[in-house]
Symmetry: C2
C-alpha cells in the first residue's frame, strides 16, 4: 500500500503539497498538481482513512442500533438509513441490541471509541443520564425516547385511533386489540389510541384487550383463547406479525375473515400483502422514517441547524380484504 510519502517522493514534492492536491485546498501550481496526480495514479494510491480519522476526529461512519434486524420491520428502515448515509459518503455500522440495555451500552461505547460521527438509535431503554453523557450526535428513531434528542416517529396514537375507527365503520362493534409488549413505548401509544377511540365510540370493554408480545405465535394462541371466551367481531393487532397470528387463529376456528371477524394490522410491512386474505393495516412510512432520521443526523454532524427536532410522520390506512366492507355481513 502506497502512502502519501511515496507519492510525494515520486512527484518530487513534499507531503503537504500532495495533501493539498488531495483536499483541494491551499495553493498548488497547475504543473505540480499534474505531477502529483500522475504519481497518485501510477502508485494506485488511496489515502488511508484511518490516519485521516485520527487527525480530523471524524470517521465518515455512523452507528445504527436496532433491536433486531430479523424483525421484518427493520430491514427497510436500515436500508433507508444506509441509502441516505451512502449519498453523503458515510458508512453504517449495524448493531443488534435485542432491546437489551447492556448490549446497547456496550455498542455505544464501542462506537464512540471508533470515532463514529453519529448514532441512530431505536430503543426505549436507554435512560436519560446514560445517553446524555454521550458526546456524539444522536437521533432517536421509531420510538420516542425523550426530549433532548432529535427524533423521528410515526403517529402511533393517531394510527391506532384510525384503525379502531375503521373497524367500527365497517360494522364491527366488539373490537379487540392485541397489545404489544408494555415496555415498548409505541405499543403503549397504540393501545392508548385504541382505548380512547373505543371510549369515544362507547364500546370500551377492557376484556377485549389481548396481551401480545409482537410475535406471531404468541398472538395466535392468545387470540384462539380470546375468541373462545368472548364475542369478538373485529381485531386490531398492535403490529402486522400479530395480525397474521390473529388471522391464523380465526381461520383455525373455522371463522371467516372479514365476514365473521375483521382484522387490521399495524406497520405496513410487505408481509401483509402475502397473506390470504390480504391484510388491512396502518402503514407507517418506514423508508421515509429511516431516510429522515439519516438526513437529520447528517445535519447534526455537519453542525447545521435543524428546522425541526421532533418529527411525527403521518400514517395511512391501507384497506385490503381483511376488512373489506362489502364482504362483511
Amino acid at each position: 500500500m502506497a502512502t502519501i510519502r511515496d507519492v510525494a517522493k515520486l512527484a518530487g514534492v513534499s507531503v503537504a503539497t500532495v495533501s493539498r492536491v488531495l483536499n483541494q485546498n491551499g495553493y498548488v501550481n497547475e504543473e505540480t498538481e499534474k505531477r502529483v496526480r500522475q504519481a497518485i495514479k501510477k502508485l494506485n494510491y488511496k489515502p488511508n482513512e484511518v490516519a485521516r480519522t485520527l487527525f480530523k476526529k471524524t470517521s465518515k461512519t455512523i452507528g445504527l442500533i436496532v433491536p433486531d434486524i430479523s424483525n421484518p420491520f427493520f430491514p427497510e428502515l436500515v436500508r433507508a438509513v444506509e441509502d441516505v448515509m451512502n449519498i453523503y459518503d458515510y458508512t453504517v455500522i449495524l448493531c443488534n441490541s435485542d432491546e437489551k440495555n447492556e448490549k446497547e451500552k456496550e455498542y455505544m461505547e464501542v462506537l464512540k471509541q471508533k470515532y463514529v460521527d453519529g448514532i441512530i438509535l431505536t430503543t426505549n431503554q436507554l435512560e436519560l443520564d446514560e445517553v446524555s453523557e454521550i458526546n456524539v450526535p444522536v437521533v432517536v428513531l421509531d420510538r420516542p425516547l425523550n426530549h433532548s434528542f432529535p427524533s423521528v416517529i410515526a403517529d402511533n396514537y393517531g394510527g391506532a385511533r384510525l384503525a379502531t375507527r375503521h373497524l367500527y365503520e365497517i360494522g364491527c362493534r366488539r373490537i379487540a386489540h392485541i397489545q404489544g409488549p408494555s415496555h415498548v413505548v409505541n405499543a403503549v401509544e397504540r393501545f392508548n389510541g385504541y382505548r380512547d377511540e373505543m371510549k369515544e365510540l362507547g364500546l370500551w370493554d377492557e376484556r377485549l384487550v389481548i396481551l401480545g408480545n409482537y410475535q406471531l405465535k404468541q398472538a395466535k394462541e392468545a387470540v384462539l383463547q380470546a375468541l373462545k371466551e368472548y364475542d369478538i367481531d373485529g381485531i386490531f393487532a398492535g403490529n402486522d406479525a400479530m395480525a397474521v397470528g390473529a388471522l391464523k387463529a380465526v381461520q383455525q376456528l373455522g371463522l371467516r375473515v372479514p365476514e365473521d371477524v375483521a382484522i387490521i394490522g399495524y406497520d405496513g410491512i410487505p408481509l401483509t400483502e402475502m397473506t390470504t386474505p390480504e391484510l388491512s393495516t396502518i402503514s407507517q412510512p418506514i423508508y421515509e422514517m429511516g431516510a429522515i432520521a439519516a438526513r437529520i443526523l447528517v445535519k447534526k454532524i455537519e453542525g447545521k441547524p435543524l428546522e425541526q427536532i421532533h418529527y411525527v410522520l403521518p400514517v395511512e390506512l391501507i384497506e385490503r380484504q381483511s376488512t373489506r366492507k362489502g364482504e362483511r355481513k
Copy 2:
C-alpha cells in the same frame, strides 16, 4: 476525552507502562498497575480505537456486502454474521450493493481504506481479477463466486432435485418451475437441479419453465399466464417470494392449493409460515450459513488454518399444507 498521556501523567508513569497495563503484556509492577488502573477509572479513560488501528493495521471491523437487506432472505443472514462477529469483538459495516458491480467495487474500496479486517461478500458479479487484487480476507456467502475464496453456500442443486421429487411423490406430473434471474448463480443451479430431476423422471418439458426475477409480483403474473396456457399440477418456485406469487395466482384463478396445484418454495424464510395454506419449502440453514461464514472469516483474519474451504450445507424439505399429500386428489 482523556488520552493515554493524561492517564500516564496522573499515575506518574510513562505512556508505555499504561499501554502495558492496557494490553497485559510486558512487565508491570503490581503497585504500578494499581495506580494506573485507578487513573484510568478516575479519568474514565477509553483507548482510542482509531489510533490503535492506525498502528496495528487491524480495526476489529469487517464489511458485509449484501444485495439488499430488505430482501427477506438476508436479515437472518446478516443477523448471524453480526452475532458471531460480536462474540469476537468485531463490528460490522453493512453495505447494500443491489447486485451492482459498481456499488460493490466502491464499497470494497471504501472498506479497504477503512482498514476493515475482512469482508463477507454475497455476489455473483465481481470478476476474478477485481477480487484478487483485494488484499483483505474475503469469504463468499450464499453464492458460489469462484475457486480462490472460502465460500459458504447451501446445496442448491440438491435442494432443487429434492423439491421436484417431492412434488412428483405427492402425485404431480406436470411440474412447472419458476426460475430466478439467470445472472444469479444459485438460481441457475436450482434450475439445473429441477431440469435433471425432471429428465430422470421422464417429465421434462421446457415449456414448464417460467421466467421469474425472484419477486412476488412478477412471478404471480408469469404464473397466471402459464396456468392459462399449460396444464400444470405442481409448481416449484425458485424462492419463497415467488412461491407466494404462484399461490396468489393459483388462488386468483379459483384453483385449490394443493388439491389442483401443489406449490413448493425455496429458502425457508419465515414468510412461508404466514400464508394460507402454509407453504412447503426447501429450507436453507440461513442463520448457520451466516454464522459459519463469520467464523471462517475470523479464522482467516487471525491467520489460522481452515479445515475446509468450501462449505456446502445441506438443505431440508419442509412439508406444509401447500404440498400435503392427503389433501391432493
